[in-house]
């Protein structure tokens, strides 16, 4: 059985392997710096804080009224002749999508990029039932050929260099070995065009759902989503329930923020507004449109202090800017959602037991919060998660250390005693061993003969 649970419990094992991979780190550094430079340039002409505040307000409003907005969206989508399915869990979503495919005797599906389908592990699920499901986003296509999972929310193959991609495409689809990006894109396009022409069903995500008119908005750059949603008989949209926003006019705020935050583009090459199946006077478009809305732990966050995590528009800016992500890459997180936002979303969607270390895998530098286009206090959210996790663990070595630490700090005389003991033992192997997380990689500072308070006291004595 395909499991939808993340592998984040293995984070400590996974990151150690990834952090030692120098090539990975070089690939990530190059790509993220490029993305960030472009991001910063693209925002130069706008008042980022102003836009962000507006976006945050809309998201706060939307998430606080999630149920009302969802039923409004559903009503309008029905009016547009779409079927809407509300899936509590990945299993229910997968079963519904499989049922749609089987009812139409679908053999081949073309799929555009969607993180929610990754959350569902939808592709391996459908393939298990003999339905060929082809990723048509170039990055996702590369990842699928490599038999891997995406390592970034918006740039799934970011961990691979151009040369590695050229080699992969040479091995898998038999093209000439040439790492010119234009050549590679052209060859991939040829291979994918065949798939588009023969597929019966298309699957896409949706970046936004507009409640007032039942429209799903798909943002992309390659035109593959446009094809996956229009050149097929059946189109299934799969997205999270938190993507719903009240009004069409709200889009003008998000459109300015999303492309810039993700790739430094003022606007992505394609923005598809999908309202429903082909109408009588229209030449193309699918006969059926299904909209699958995944909950999977989302609605439970409404009204909690983590509600704002639902604002996320999956731009990936917090990953690009995160020095931890850049050191270990997305696969280390063991989750569909890596990076700072992943360290929140993974324990929140799948339960903290499945990702106990992720909220701690941050230096809390706050760079993620600084770039977040919808105003999520990401690093403060991580801190709050740490508090929740540790409130439940009263036992263990670490809890004992902090209890002792607190007891020492609450009594100035104990603190002074501790200070004297530290001076006696500081250069002994016991200390080096106790602090091996430090001393294995760095020198310990040499403790001076006297603490400040001792110096202060003796100076005052002289006065």
């Amino acid at each position: 059985m395909t499991t939808t649970e993340p592998q984040s419990r293995d984070f400590k094992k996974l990151y150690k392997k990834e952090v030692a991979n120098l090539r990975l780190r070089a690939n990530l550094k190059k790509a993220t710096i490029q993305a960030l430079d472009k991001r910063n340039d693209s925002f130069a002409e706008l008042d980022f804080d102003l836009l962000r505040n507006e976006a945050k307000k809309i998201k706060q409003e939307s998430v606080s009224h999630l149920n009302e907005l969802l039923s409004q969206f559903e009503d309008n989508a029905h009016k547009n002749n779409c079927a809407v399915f509300y899936a509590e869990s990945p299993e229910k979503a997968n079963a519904y999508i499989l049922d749609v495919a089987q009812r139409h005797a679908v053999k081949k599906i073309v799929k555009s990029k969607s993180m929610v389908t990754e959350e569902l592990r939808l592709v391996p699920f459908l393939e298990k039932f003999g339905i060929e499901t082809v990723e048509t986003d170039l990055g996702e296509y590369i990842i699928q050929l490599a038999g891997e999972t995406p390592s970034h929310i918006t740039a799934p193959a970011i961990h691979k260099s151009r040369t590695e991609i050229a080699q992969l495409l040479h091995d898998k689809i038999g093209i000439e070995l040439n790492d010119d990006p234009t050549f590679l894109t052209g060859e991939a396009r040829k291979a994918l065009r065949e798939k588009f022409l023969s597929a019966e069903m298309g699957i896409s995500g949706a970046n936004f759902l507009i409640a007032e008119n039942g429209t799903a908005v798909v943002v992309e750059n390659e035109g593959n989503a446009r094809l996956s949603t229009s050149a097929v008989k059946v189109h299934v949209i799969v997205t999270g329930i938190e993507k719903v926003i009240p009004k069409f006019s709200d889009l003008r705020i998000f459109m300015r923020l999303l492309g810039r935050s993700a790739t430094g583009q003022k606007l992505t090459s394609y923005v598809s507004l999908i309202r429903g199946p082909r109408r009588q006077n229209e030449k193309d478009g699918p006969d059926e449109v299904h909209i699958v809305l995944l909950d999977n732990g989302r609605s439970a966050l409404v009204g909690t202090e983590h509600q704002e995590v639902l604002h996320c528009i999956r731009c990936g800016a917090c990953l690009n800017v995160c020095p931890v992500y850049r050191s270990i890459g997305g696969h280390a997180y063991g989750s569909v959602y890596p990076g700072p936002i992943g360290s929140l979303v993974t324990p929140l969607f799948f339960g903290p037991k499945n990702a106990p270390d992720l909220p701690f895998a941050s230096s809390l530098c706050g760079n993620c919060t600084e770039v977040c286009p919808v105003g999520i206090g990401i690093h403060h959210q991580l801190l709050a998660m740490r508090h929740e996790i540790k409130a439940k663990t009263k036992r263990g070595v670490e809890a004992f250390i902090f209890r002792t630490f607190r007891k020492t700090m609450l009594r100035p005389q104990r603190y002074r005693l501790f200070s004297r003991l530290a001076r006696i033992f500081s250069s002994t192997p016991i200390v080096a061993k106790a602090f091996k997380g430090w001393t294995h990689y760095r020198e310990l500072p040499k403790l001076p003969a006297r603490s400040f308070r001792e110096i202060y006291k003796s100076e005052r004595g002289k006065e």
């Binding site: 020095p323 701690f360 230096s363 706050g366 609450l410 500072p445 400040f452 308070r453």
Partner: protein, 260 residues
């Protein structure tokens, strides 16, 4: 103007010269500096590691201790601190952020501390920030032949909004040349217990920061946070580097000595 000097525990124990220098500079600028002797730790290590209850208890102790000069803080009913005229100043961006940004939050549900922590937060400053915002950077001048780079600690930068201040101060030192680090807003990888929980990641970040520092050719890396410097210096020493890592208060103090 009276300053209650906030000396975070690791500055007291490991970097006393930072506190000595801070006191000297503040006195030089005309402040009446006192050291509340019952202070210990602000609670930040526990707070950031998830131990909120332990951090709360430490915060309560520290509030009483920092505002009290004469009697034992345990019995403190009246504070010596004058909320209208006195200031709390600490040479550590992250510990000051703990008091200013997080004390009001973690003590909000305790009537004994709710107002005090809020009022205290309004009077608490990071050392370089205090000099720029309250005293005025132009009141300071010094002389020191040195080439330095400045490291923005994340807490000073993002929690407190300290960015231009330390640079303005360094510009006031005759003979000192400041060369900016490339990517100066990227974290150095310290992150408190993060440095020992995920040391492999932490030192990758340190090495990146050190490379940028070496690239500038500067002799000294200056910062408003000794914790970042402890981590960077520890890593640099391991690979044999002889570069100097100094708190901005130490550089200021030395520059006063050299100015006739």
């Amino acid at each position: 103007m009276r300053v209650f000097l906030f000396v975070p525990c690791f500055i007291d124990q490991v970097f006393p010269n930072v506190a000595v220098s801070s006191m000297k500079v503040l006195k030089h600028l005309g402040c009446d500096v006192v050291f509340p002797e019952h202070q210990t730790c602000c609670g930040q290590p526990a707070f950031n590691s998830g131990y909120r209850d332990e951090a709360r208890l430490m915060a309560m102790h520290e509030v009483n201790a920092l505002l009290t000069l004469t009697h034992s803080p345990v019995a403190a009913a009246k504070y010596d601190f004058d909320f209208k005229h006195d200031y709390i100043v600490g040479p550590s961006g992250s510990c000051v952020a703990m008091i200013r940004n997080f004390y009001p939050e973690i003590l909000a549900d305790d009537p004994r501390f709710e107002d005090v922590s809020k009022n205290m937060a309004k009077r608490t400053y990071e050392f370089s920030e205090f000099i720029c915002k309250v005293i005025g950077a132009d009141r300071f001048s010094g002389k020191l032949q040195a080439t330095v780079s400045y490291h923005d600690s994340c807490h000073a930068l993002r929690e407190l909004g300290v960015k231009d201040g330390p640079r303005k101060i360094l510009e006031r030192i005759e003979g000192l040349r400041l060369i900016e680090l490339p990517y100066n807003e990227v974290c150095c990888g310290f992150g408190g217990t993060f440095a020992v929980k995920y040391p492999e990641i932490s030192v990758v970040m340190a090495d990146e920061k050190l490379q940028n520092f070496y690239q500038t050719g500067a002799d000294i890396l200056v910062s408003a946070d000794s914790s970042c410097l402890m981590h960077l210096e520890g890593r640099a020493r391991r690979s044999g580097s002889l570069k100097r890592f100094a708190h901005i208060a130490e550089i200021m103090s030395e520059s006063i000595d050299r100015k006739p």
